[in-house]
């Protein structure tokens, strides 16, 4: 521990100091932004070169898709030239990157649709699903987490813990099938597939939400219990505040901070989970587009989808980090100190 100097103690704070502090907040954001840009650059590298994992000559593969089984060499060569595949690999990457910077993700090998247009067309459905899933997960998780943190009844607490463990252990494709079986095939309440109305949204959103809620509930509980053990909670009690004030004013904000950061990570899980959930429920989102494109061996579409999801995820976690910095005064200055 560093001891404060006597001279430091009596030093009045000047306006100058404040400016330094405020700049450091922006510095923090700038830092995070730079980091995200580096990550996105890396993401483009990975998604470009992953394509080379596919066995065989890419030109031949594209030609196969385009002209059918019986190819002659000239057809392959013409594809190679047309797609720029005769250039060195790194050169191809930079050309691809250049297109990317102009928001051009290329065209589908199969349907010749514009990849970005296709993705943007499917985006609303995915966002609808993810947001609904996030809301459901928070609606389930926060009450359970808070209640079980203060639960004196060991049996009830254990029940909460047990169900949250089940929730963590249940893969979402299996949960989706269970929900279809229960609500659609047995009880006939909700449709098992399709898109358009709230009742169509219910089962997929529930599937996503439930599988996420258990982790959030655990985190909320653990974080709240950890905070309640903190010395400043004891100090608040020592000031004679009632339990209500102690929890609401002193514990909850601190305890929810990690939950907020987790929401950013959760968005990634939701996007990833959406791939499977969309496939099960035939939900016309990016996830289903991705899986369909993989089966169709539509490489440019696959590349576009993966890149888009990764960039979306990176940007959303950046947003969460900034939100976190606004909520928690300690974070802002950490990088500066």
């Amino acid at each position: 521990m560093e001891y404060p100097k006597a001279s430091e103690v009596k030093r009045p704070i000047s306006e100058n100091d404040r400016n330094i502090r405020r700049i450091s907040m922006w510095k923090y954001i700038a830092n995070r932004l730079a980091m995200v840009l580096i990550v996105i650059a890396g993401v483009t590298l990975v998604s470009f070169f992953a394509m080379y994992l596919a066995p065989g000559d890419p030109a031949e593969l594209i030609a196969l898709e385009r002209y059918g089984q019986d190819l002659d060499k000239s057809q392959i060569e013409s594809v190679r030239e047309a797609e720029g595949l005769d250039a060195p690999v790194y050169f191809q990457y930079f050309i691809w990157l250049d297109h990317l910077l102009h928001l051009d993700l290329g065209r589908s090998i199969i349907t010749s649709d514009d990849v970005l247009e296709e993705i943007l067309l499917k985006l609303p459905a995915t966002i609808e699903l993810t947001v609904a899933g996030l809301l459901i997960s928070l609606l389930i998780a926060l009450p359970i987490g808070v209640l079980s943190a203060f639960q004196k009844n060991i049996l009830l607490d254990n029940c909460c813990a047990f169900f949250s463990l089940i929730g963590i252990s249940i893969p979402n494709f299996w949960l989706g099938i269970l929900l279809i079986w229960l609500f659609s095939l047995t009880l006939h309440i909700f449709p098992s597939y399709g898109y358009g109305s709230l009742s169509h949204l219910t089962l997929p959103a529930l599937t996503l939400g439930i599988s996420m809620s258990s982790i959030t509930a655990r985190l909320t509980r653990a974080s709240l219990m950890e905070v309640m053990e903190k010395e400043y909670i004891l100090a608040a009690r020592a000031r004679g505040f009632d339990e209500y004030t102690v929890v609401l004013r002193h514990a909850l904000k601190n305890a929810l901070l990690p939950v907020v950061t987790f929401a950013g990570m959760q968005l990634g899980y939701l996007l990833g989970g959406a791939v499977i959930v969309e496939t099960i429920f035939s939900w016309p989102g990016i996830g289903k587009l991705l899986v369909d494109s993989i089966f169709a061996r539509d490489f440019s579409m696959v590349q576009g989808c993966v890149l888009f999801i990764a960039v979306l995820f990176s940007l959303s976690s950046l947003a969460v980090d900034i939100l976190y910095a606004v909520l928690d005064p300690r974070i802002r200055y950490d990088m500066y100190d």
């Binding site: 463990l165 893969p171 996007l271 899986v291 993989i294 696959v302 990764a310 995820f313």
Partner: protein, 299 residues
């Protein structure tokens, strides 16, 4: 002098007590015990599948399609008249096999990279950590999905795609551990004797990173099993007729209304396995973490 030896004896005794207690804690946690027992049973099933399964998992008997549980077929038959029980038992081989293979590969690779990166620091650390960030920017299963899709279905492509995408978790964890260990006095003290860097890493740093890596590894087996069966479920992993839980689940969907047991059996198996692994990891965490916990009175 006597009081010194007495004190030493006392500390020895108390540390013995701690060890005993931590095992006891582990036993007290019944769910963890259940988890370990269940995993042991699974391993047994996987090893002795040919001797345990009552029927050939591949044998199709079209006259015995979609049977319920009966004497010959303990869990009934599927749409091709194959014994579900036998197929589930053979399925443990694949799921556990993938889980263990991937976790072994990724934990070794990730731990060594994290160790190097945390210990060496500098440019290597910077590049590796940005690499980890990039890998973790692909949410959840997306990257594995793409790689498996490009490589084409099959056991190897599942193992490869999951190995390529799961190592960063270990690297990040171990690096964090190393960074905090590096500042600790005992490492500083060991350094003062100027042994080789490799020696310090192996003798002083690695053993202290092992506990969280073991816990993470147990959890990761569960994750990998979920991911592998998800890939198979989507049709990108193990292909039928090979008995795999995810692909069994998928092929059962058309019969969900009339013969739900086709889906329920493999689905429950996946869930129970993951459940057991999670409990085991929880128990491990609690019993390994015992040393860290200390009742401090004067605080």
């Amino acid at each position: 002098m006597t009081c010194m030896t007495e004190n030493i004896k006392m500390t020895e005794k108390s540390s013995m007590n701690e060890k005993r207690l931590s095992l006891w804690e582990f036993g007290k946690n019944r769910l963890a015990l259940f988890g370990i027992l269940f995993i042991a049973i699974l391993c047994f099933l996987a090893l002795f599948a040919p001797y345990i399964s009552p029927n050939d998992p591949f044998a199709q008997k079209l006259d015995k399609r979609l049977l319920g549980p009966c004497h010959e077929y303990p869990l009934g038959t599927d749409e091709f008249g194959r014994c579900i029980f036998s197929r589930v038992i053979y399925g443990t081989r694949i799921s556990l096999g993938i889980g263990i293979l991937v976790v072994a590969a990724t934990s070794i690779a990730g731990t060594s990279l994290g160790l190097l990166s945390g210990y060496k620091g500098g440019l290597f650390d910077e590049i590796l950590m940005r690499g980890v960030d990039v890998m973790l920017a692909f949410p959840n299963i997306i990257l594995a999905l793409m790689i498996a899709g490009l490589l084409g279905p099959g056991f190897l492509s599942v193992v490869l795609s999951l190995s390529l995408t799961q190592w960063p978790v270990y690297a990040r964890l171990v690096r964090g551990q190393v960074l905090s260990l590096k500042k600790r006095d005992f490492v500083e003290a060991a350094r003062a004797l100027r042994p080789s860097n490799f020696y310090i890493m192996r003798k002083h740093i690695l053993p202290n990173c092992m506990e969280p890596v073991i816990v993470l590894g147990t959890l990761e087996i569960a994750h990998v099993i979920i991911f592998a069966s998800a890939l198979s479920f989507l049709g990108l992993g193990i292909q039928p007729p090979t008995p795999e839980w995810g692909s069994m689940l998928k092929s059962g969907i058309p019969y969900l209304r009339t013969y739900p047991h086709l889906c329920f059996v493999p689905g429950l198996m996946i869930m129970l396995t993951v459940f057991a692994l999670n409990f085991a990891a929880d128990g491990l965490r609690a019993s390994l973490g015992q040393y860290a916990k200390q009742e401090v009175l004067d605080r």
